[in-house]
């Protein structure tokens, strides 16, 4: 357990972040985009945990932040899915390309 160096874990979180970013930019389905956002959030969570462990091993601040973010992510998913359902009701589609009325 103690053998895994910090760079491995940071590499994992960075990869996770960019996979999420890639999903956010390339998927047209709103639910998939939501999932991509969850990936980004989780990469941040990993960062918090790992920096807490390696930099301030005796403290819990980073862990608390992680729990905080998980809560926020749950709430955000609830709101986002409500929006998506409403969008589907009005547009009969959850393709992000179909919902571009709010422009100039």
């Amino acid at each position: 357990m103690s053998g895994i160096p910090i760079s491995h874990i940071l590499f994992l979180s960075t990869a996770l972040f960019f996979i999420g970013m890639y999903g956010l930019f390339t998927r047209r389905n709103l639910i998939t985009m939501l999932m991509a956002i969850e990936l980004i959030l989780n990469s941040v969570n990993i960062n918090f945990v790992v920096f807490n462990k390696f930099l301030w091993p005796g403290k819990l601040d980073g862990i608390f932040f992680t729990i905080f973010i998980i809560t926020i992510a749950a709430a955000e998913a609830a709101v986002a899915i409500a929006i998506i359902i409403n969008l589907f009701r009005s547009h009969r589609s959850i393709d992000v390309e179909d919902a571009t009325e709010m422009k100039w």
């Binding site: 930019f25 985009m33 992000v96 390309e97 919902a99 571009t100 709010m102 422009k103 100039w104």
Partner: protein, 642 residues
């Protein structure tokens, strides 16, 4: 009671009437607005007469001199420690006299209009305008500050404009109201510049302080204003002349008189009130108000005298040839105001030399009575025969006895036949002219003969002359129209006996009028001759007027065409000003001023068009901008931030 307790009510009551009738008249007082107007004016008039009684007989005199009192004063705009625009009330002999004239004539006109304007669509609007005019005129005569007078000066201008254009569906009335407004505005430009010069040099806008400083030859202000000069003429003369130009515009003095005859397009009672008795004498009043300053400046006084005399003569000549009854009276008004002006110009401050001042004010006073009577009489005639042209009238004496008698009284009064009002005032005017300049006196004497001729030409053509062959006789006039005629007629008979010099003089002291019976022989002879000639020409229908007109030839033609003044104005404005000033200015406005504005709008729209594409409505595009932004910030913070 103190003046300050009630004097402000005199102008404020008509203002309240204006607001009440203007806002609610159409809805709630359709029929009663006339009575409301009359009631308000009765109260104002009563207060004005009470003020006059208080001032002239009870408390105005201290050491045998009528004092100038300022019962109310309120600083409105403070420019510097010495200069401020005040709203105040000034009570002295001439302002009290004007108070009485304005409220009284306005009351008569209000009563007369009850009958004259009956059934009019915009009856309550008419009365609200009349109230507005009365308020502004009262404010003008009681102004204690030269800028305050300017405010009210413009207010009477606008109410005159509104009333001339009252029949706004007639193009001629609209044109006349515009002409009146523009010509007087043009003159007011001179007035404003004059005020600014006086205020700058005198250091104050207050009448009393200004007069005190500019008449004291030792004061620094006096020395500055007389030694400074512009184009070789002292600044004092410039200022007074410019102020006089304002007065000349309002008082329809030559060559700014062209608006007054056209102003007759308004309802006739309005002409009686504004264009005969009150507003047009505002110029005379203005010169009288500043008279102590004018009296020490020879040049300005000469301008006043000569313009007055020229106006009197030219207007009288034109009046002899006009056929519209109201235009004759309008030119007669110009002529009589000319009398007042040159009487002022012929006067000096104080003592016996101040006869001209008293004479001018006396003539203003009597003129207000007989000229408003003449106009109201003309209104009654027009109401009866539905025409302004003298040829549509004739033999009216049988149908309209009250109008006939009162009109005759007014004609005799303006002709200066003793013992009617005009005799006394005109004698004093002539006396003042005689004492100062014999040439002016001869013009005045000749003009007085002309006056008699054209007034009796009017009288005989309207009331005698041809038999009426019309089947239906002109219908009579109502009691509300007769009453003012009778009251004014009685006034015209008796006000001449007021010993005016006792109350109104240039320095407030008693002035015994040096009045000789011998002196009045010449004017009275002229008057009788004028009556005789008019009788010979117009009493019965004949071709004598044509023969006389033919004998005068060119002079008659020129006078008939009003000495081509309107044509000259049209030439100057249309040909010269429009082409040389108006067109280039319009070009600059359309192409350069508007072009700049349009260019700015166009380029803004263009740039907006380019950058609005950013807001595409695509969520992922926004996320991308956000992400790029974060990266840029990170780069800045990590690498570029030192």
């Amino acid at each position: 009671m103190n003046y300050s307790d009630y004097i402000a009510l005199i102008p404020l009551l008509p203002l309240a009437g204006f607001v009440l009738l203007g806002l609610f008249g159409k809805k709630y007082f359709r029929r009663s607005s006339g009575y409301i107007g009359v009631l308000i004016l009765v109260m104002s008039t009563a207060l004005a007469f009470y003020t006059a009684y208080q001032y002239f007989f009870v408390s105005g005199k201290v050491h045998d001199t009528y004092q100038t009192i300022i019962p109310l004063k309120y600083t409105w705009l403070q420019f510097s420690s010495g200069t401020s625009i005040n709203m105040g009330i000034l009570v002295d002999a001439i302002s009290v006299m004007m108070l009485v004239i304005v409220t009284f004539v306005s009351l008569m006109v209000h009563i007369f209009s009850l009958g004259y304007m009956k059934g009019e669509e915009r009856f309550s609007t008419y009365y609200s305008f009349l109230s507005l005019f009365t308020f502004s005129m009262l404010g003008l005569v009681m102004a204690s500050n030269i800028f305050q007078i300017y405010f009210f000066w413009e207010l009477v201008g606008i109410s005159s404009y509104l009333l001339i254009g009252f029949y706004y569906d007639r193009p001629s009335a609209v044109a006349a109201s515009k002409k009146a407004f523009i010509v007087t505005r043009f003159a007011d430009l001179g007035f404003l510049i004059g005020i600014l010069i006086l205020a700058y040099e005198g250091g104050t806008l207050d009448f009393n302080t200004l007069i005190e400083r500019l008449t004291n030859t030792q004061s620094s202000q006096y020395i500055n204003i007389t030694t400074a000069s512009f184009l070789g003429i002292s600044v004092m003369t410039w200022a007074l002349t410019l102020v006089f130009i304002g007065g000349a515009g309002k008082s329809a003095m030559f060559p700014l008189h062209i608006w007054l005859p056209d102003a007759m397009e308004g309802p006739t009672p309005v002409s009686a009130l504004i264009h005969a008795a009150t507003m047009v004498v505002a110029g005379v009043y203005l010169v009288a108000r500043l008279f102590p300053v004018y009296s020490i400046n020879e040049a300005a006084l000469h301008i006043v005298t000569w313009l007055g005399a020229i106006s009197a003569l030219l207007a009288a000549l034109i009046a002899c040839t006009q056929t519209d009854i109201k235009r004759v009276l309008a030119y007669s008004t110009i002529s009589q105001i000319g009398y007042m002006m040159f009487a002022l110009g012929a006067a000096k401050y104080g003592g016996e030399a101040g006869t001209g001042f008293t004479a001018s004010m006396f003539h203003l006073f009597t003129h207000a009575f007989f000229k408003s009577l003449l106009f109201l009489g003309a209104g009654a005639i027009i109401h009866a025969v539905h025409s302004n042209e003298m040829k549509d009238m004739g033999s009216l004496r049988k149908f309209m006895p009250v109008t006939h008698i009162t009109f005759l009284i007014a004609c005799l009064a303006i002709s200066g036949v003793p013992p009617f009002a005009g005799f006394f005032s005109k004698e004093e005017v002539l006396l003042a002219a005689f004492n100062s300049n014999k040439f002016i006196y001869s013009i005045a004497l000749f003009t007085s003969g002309l006056t008699v001729f054209y007034m009796f030409r009017l009288y005989f053509s309207v009331f005698w002359n041809k038999q009426r062959e019309k089947h239906e006789p002109p219908h009579g006039i109502s009691f509300t129209m007769k009453l003012p005629l009778i009251i004014l007629g009685a006034g015209t008979m008796f006000i001449g006996f007021i010993p005016f010099g006792k109350y109104v003089s240039s320095d407030g002291k008693l002035l015994e009028s040096a009045f000789h019976l011998n002196f009045s022989i010449a004017p009275v002879c002229f008057a009788l001759a004028g009556i005789a000639i008019a009788m010979w020409m117009y009493k019965t229908e004949s071709n004598r007027p044509h023969r006389v007109a033919a004998a005068f030839g060119g002079l008659y033609q020129a006078a008939h065409k009003k000495f081509y003044m309107d044509e000259i104005y049209l030439f100057v404005t249309k040909k010269i000003i429009f082409n040389l000033v108006g067109r280039p200015a319009a070009w600059i406005d359309r192409n350069i001023v508007d072009g700049t504005m349009n260019g700015m709008a166009y380029s803004t729209a263009k740039i907006s068009g380019w950058i609005k594409g950013i807001q595409s409505g695509k969520v992922q595009a926004y996320a991308m901008y956000f992400f790029i932004g974060i990266i840029v910030l990170v780069i800045i913070v990590l690498y570029l931030w030192k």
